[in-house]
Symmetry: C2
Subunit: 145 residues, 2 copies
């Protein structure tokens, strides 16, 4: 089973939604097609703007409802890298992120590029549900080069 985002047209998206038990309404299929067209990070507002400018009729509430639904079913992943807004990541494979502090841009870091030689054991009765790693970047200052 392919868990990473791959280019997918609306028909393929509709199929994937059905697999997840999600009724493939036009709005949902459009949102899925946009997100899954490539591995990327989009905000709710960006998705709303993109859909509307491409002629899709959709409301803000539906965008949020749909994104939350997709995230709950594991089709996408919600990220909290800065406090200002949520980012929705179409790459659901386990991976990490670079975060450019200046521009706010996110860049995927594939799993093989990070290796933990030591991790703490979770408290009793708890288990690890996932690991979020954000490597914060800043522009090199001229004096440092």
């Amino acid at each position: 089973m392919n868990r990473t985002a791959t280019a997918a047209g609306p028909p393929e998206c509709a199929r994937r939604l059905i697999q997840l038990g999600i009724r493939p309404t036009p709005q949902r299929v459009q949102i899925a097609a946009l997100l899954l067209s490539a591995p990327q990070h989009l905000s709710a507002e960006q998705i709303l703007a993109a859909l509307r400018s491409s002629g899709t009729r959709v409301s803000k509430a539906t965008v949020y409802n749909t994104l939350n639904l997709f995230a709950a079913r594991g089709l996408i992943r919600q990220l909290s890298v800065d406090g200002s807004r949520a980012w929705f990541d179409s790459n659901t494979a386990v991976h990490y992120h670079f975060h450019d502090t200046d521009s706010g841009m996110l860049i995927d870091v594939p799993v093989p590029e990070v290796e933990f030689s030591r991790l703490p054991s979770p408290p009793p009765g708890m288990e690890v549900a996932g690991i979020d790693l954000v490597i914060r970047l800043r522009r090199k200052s001229d004096t440092d080069r």
Copy 2:
């Protein structure tokens, strides 16, 4: 120089604010004293409530202004572990976190408990400003034990 939060009364807090070039007004000293009384994670609203219930007269705007100021000067650290609100961490030493997905609670993970044997190099012209690691926890389900 001690960079970790340590129990500190108002006089010691005032001294520390002055060191950082921050004028030690009563509100600022109270907020610092609350946060630095122990390593902990507090939200702006929690801080406002705690100060008011202890008799300190302070406004919401001042709490936010002060927390942002403290974070900018490195006295505390702002965390984005869930999208809903900012958490302010009085432990400014480099460290990581456990995050209990159910309760929302945060637990510090000291640096020695995590070891990276491999990390990606930053893109050209960029340097690493910091690493945020959040280990998300969930209650072990009964069937798993």
